[in-house]
Amino acid sequence: MKVQLLKLAHARSGDKGDTANIGLIALREEIYPILVREVTADRVKQHFKGICKGDVERFELPNLGALNFLLHESLGGGGTLSLMTDAQGKTFSTALLRMMVEISETEAQSLNLDQEV
């Protein structure tokens, strides 16, 4: 079944030049493996189609139950060069939480998500 990342994770994003970073954090420890499986660099690149013009890199932080994504060439030049309202990529976090991911019925049940979707 499909579930929105918003139900599985919280996130914070920021910038470094023209690169946006998104830290995606599992709401509960047992959700982290689902994030690792579903939220791949490729899927994030696809999700941000038209926004992220460069590569997407992914790093794993199992100690925090978190993934860190670097979305290169995403901020209209970055810093003071950017004309974007969100030149610092602050809302990329919630943009990622819009993503729909696939979880099994068993996972949904064990996470008590089967009622909510």
Partner: protein, 455 residues
């Protein structure tokens, strides 16, 4: 040696809550107050201020703040680390000294001054010797912007601040120093940590990273269950209580709002993160994948297990250069068909800019209320939006083109689609763009200078 050192963060950026440092000093026991004033392009703003007034060029707010809290700091032996000096560290220190004299603190205060970060004067000499200062992001050569450079400063680490503290400075004022160094230096000074004790260097660095954005780790901008966060109106700024072994607790003063919970600390840990295995500062390479968190009580999160690796042989340089001009114009369109009207206005505006033959490096249109933050991910907006703000930005090397653009916004009110308002601010302002050029420089090229002055 102390068993515990408490470092309080008072400013997450230049312009953060003015009362926060005062509350940190008055709200309970602390040993150090750290104040981070410098964002990436702040140095160039300060450089401009100094070119107009030789006495300026530092974080002006720092001086009245010191006036307010110095008596308490002296009485309770609270020490301050601040990168408030900008491009005029001596001027900043003198202003603080004058304030201290006014307060009758003669003979009671020593101020430490850290300089040597400003390499503007020796840029050409460095370039001629083959120190390239290539852009870390684009790999471009600095010569492509040489004539337009406005400031060039090395990010200094904790070491010179430690020296100032060791020499008895109660207030340490630096120019361009890393925000993490402002927290690490007091710990190295108090606990006698060796600069090659990489795990402890990393622990102090990560402590600094957690508190350097002020309340952003204590409930500010916290997505996790944001509706449940108590009393953000009186949000407590963070305090690190560090132990000699490099473990520390993140907390805040009793009776303040916000919260210190594991999710709020995690959100700050990943903020502006690159490769979490290698968070590079002048002091060490910290590994964020080793950070362990656990609760130690209400609003107390213990951080432990941190590992680090040897520092690199380069400093990061922050160079600012003039990169043309920009302006952003906005108008608000109301129901009915607000989005369609704003889109029509954008087409009309662009046709007029075309007809004028104006050349821009970039024109960006956003519809606030429909797609400004999440772009295409927001999906097709409701056809019945109550209002939409049209926001058009342009960028060009040609100031005249940007200037002309600013005259094309307000006329849309009488010459474009109906239901429009929100032009009361007048013409948009033309802004000079000061862009950021990150580079690396071998450490042996840089000699930090530490001075102390007695009040």
């Amino acid at each position: 040696m102390k068993e515990k050192v408490r470092i309080a963060a008072g400013q997450g950026f230049w312009g953060d809550l003015p009362d926060a440092p005062v509350r940190q000093v008055e709200g309970g026991p602390i040993d150090y107050l750290m104040l981070d004033y410098l964002a990436e392009v702040t140095m160039s703003i300060m450089q401009k201020q100094r070119s107009r007034d030789p006495a300026a060029g530092y974080a002006k707010d720092f001086v009245p703040l010191m006036k307010q809290i110095l008596p308490a700091c002296v009485e309770r032996n609270i020490r301050v680390t601040a990168n408030a000096g900008g491009v005029n560290v001596e001027g900043c220190a003198k202003a603080v000294r004058d304030v201290a004299l006014e307060l009758g603190l003669a003979g009671k205060l020593r101020i430490g001054i850290v300089t040597g970060d400003d390499i503007m004067a020796k840029l050409d000499e460095l370039l001629s010797r083959g120190v390239e200062l290539r852009n870390m992001d684009t790999d471009a050569a600095l010569s492509t912007v040489r004539e337009r450079i406005q400031s060039a400063n090395v990010y200094l680490g904790a070491a010179p601040m430690v020296e100032a503290l060791n020499r008895g400075a109660q207030i340490v004022i630096t120019g361009r120093a890393t925000d993490t160094g402002l927290t690490l230096a007091p710990l190295m000074h108090e606990f006698g940590w060796s600069p090659d004790d990489w795990n402890r260097m990393a622990a102090g660095t990560i402590a600094g990273h957690i508190i350097e954005c002020g309340a952003q780790c204590t409930g500010g901008n916290c997505q996790y269950e944001w509706r449940s966060i108590p009393n953000l109106a009186n949000v407590g700024f963070p305090i690190v209580e560090a132990a000699p072994d490099g473990t520390f607790v993140v907390t805040k003063h009793e009776g303040t709002g916000g919260w210190v919970i594991i999710p709020s600390i995690k959100e700050q840990l990943v903020y502006e993160m690159g490769d979490p295995h290698s968070y590079i500062t002048p002091d060490c390479v910290a590994d964020f994948t080793t950070v362990c968190l656990e609760y130690e009580g209400r609003d107390r999160v213990r951080v432990f297990g941190i590992e680090g690796r040897p520092a690199t042989d380069t400093f990061k340089v922050s160079i600012s250069y003039s990169a043309g001009y920009k302006a952003v114009g906005t108008l608000v369109y109301s129901w009915p068909e607000a989005h369609d009207k704003a889109r029509a206005a954008d087409r009309i505006l662009r046709a007029r800019l075309d007809r004028l033959g104006l050349k821009f490096d970039q024109i960006l249109t956003e519809f606030v209320g429909a797609n400004a933050t999440h772009g295409p991910l927001a999906g097709e907006p409701s056809p019945d939006l109550p209002e939409v703000q049209l926001r058009v930005g342009v960028r060009s090397e040609d100031r005249a083109a940007v200037e002309r653009f600013t005259k094309e916004i307000a006329p849309l009110v009488l010459t474009g689609p109906p239901g429009v308002t929100g032009f009361a601010g007048g013409r948009p302002k033309v802004e000079e763009i000061v862009a950021y050029w990150p580079a690396l420089i071998p450490k042996e090229e840089i000699s930090p200078i530490v001075d102390v002055i007695d009040v």
